[in-house]
Subunit: 226 residues, 2 copies
């Protein structure tokens, strides 16, 4: 590998880590806005999305430049296309954090509705899975990546428990349907963040082992669900 | 452009169209399973996902081969990375069709619950947006791609109407909460299919004009929502 290619690859990987840190903070802030009923924090998350979008565009352009200038092959090619895909996933996670912040805005009309503890547990787990998946990428650590994939099922279980708790609120009191639906949406957004973190971890496994892990995992999960 | 590169690019684009046709059929079948309460059709969609996954892996490997062997630059490089991204989106749309089929399975316990007409209208619109986005890709037709982007807002509106209809059912009768929640999920899945079709159309605009359209659109939609 040429020194320039090495340097440019390290550069986009650092940029990717910075983007992930940005997105992780948005997830934490969106949950904060939800529990503390803070409109200012929700707005901060929503406004932050523009910086994420700009960052994503920058990284994508850098990847295309690397492909065009260095024409990498084998593992360097896979590293570059992995950055392209992870970059795309991070931008979508940013959008999901914005969606959670929007639900936090709506929940301010229902200040007494209890936010399920498990919803926040889920969000923290999804955020930590994201951080660990990026970490497994820069260290090319398949063992850590597999650990992230395994945690996705636990998040799905938490999601099912949150939904059942919300459903009970709706059954008990028709006036609770509105806020319960907002949290139902928030819960799905968090579940999707965990899914996307899992996608990233699967891309790491693919990068290192050259085999496509994601569908084997999908099928395992589907079998478990049915 | 070398003849071989031309031939290989045309080949993966044909494969991508075939994958899209497969996924479009899954969307139509999943809705069919929902309206006709046909478990056999739901199962057919769920089982079909494995073929989609295998097809996606194949296309991704072909893209990597093209990048490594032909080392394309400029527009050919963008065409290849566009296939990589669209391929990824199609696989996710396949997963969403499976999710709708799973909701159809659950709805069989509630045969008298009325499926909102607008839910089916939304699904048909999302499916047609997907077909048109792929069509705009192979014809590199920016005008058609922009048309797809514009239709996304109409789907978001339909989704809001479906949710409000379902919410009324829940308020009227506590026993309707369960099936209404299943359809609430189905509606979100359909909305996400339209979002992903829009992403594809935005990738086409980027490919042709070299500018990143998606975030401009995102911001317009966000402003409209707030």
């Amino acid at each position: 590998m040429s020194k320039h290619l090495q340097r440019d690859l390290e550069h986009i990987e650092r940029e990717l880590l910075a983007l992930s840190a940005q997105v992780e903070e948005m997830i934490a802030l969106a949950c904060n806005a939800l529990t503390e009923q803070r409109l200012d924090i929700a707005v901060q998350v929503i406004d932050g999305d523009q910086r994420v979008d700009e960052h994503e565009v920058l990284i994508e352009e850098e990847c295309l430049k690397i492909l065009a200038l260095h024409q990498p092959v084998a593992v360097d090619l896979r590293r570059t296309t992995a950055v392209l895909k992870i970059n795309n996933d991070l931008e979508r996670i940013g959008d999901l954090a914005v969606n959670i912040a929007e639900r936090a805005e709506q929940m301010r009309t229902y200040p007494t509705f209890p936010i399920p503890d498990k919803l926040l547990e889920m969000a923290e787990e999804a955020r930590s899975m994201l951080a660990d998946s990026l970490d497994s990428f820069v260290r090319l650590d398949v063992h850590a990546a597999r650990g992230v994939c395994r945690r996705d099922d636990a998040v799905d279980l938490l999601n099912a428990e949150v939904i059942s708790e919300l459903r009970e609120h709706m059954h008990r009191d028709g006036n609770q349907i509105e806020p319960a639906l907002y949290l139902f949406s928030a819960s799905r957004h968090i579940e999707r963040i965990a899914d996307l973190a899992t996608n990233i971890a699967e891309d790491v496994i693919y990068l290192v082992e050259g085999e496509i892990a994601r569908h084997r995992h999908d099928r395992m999960v589907n079998v478990a669900k049915n």
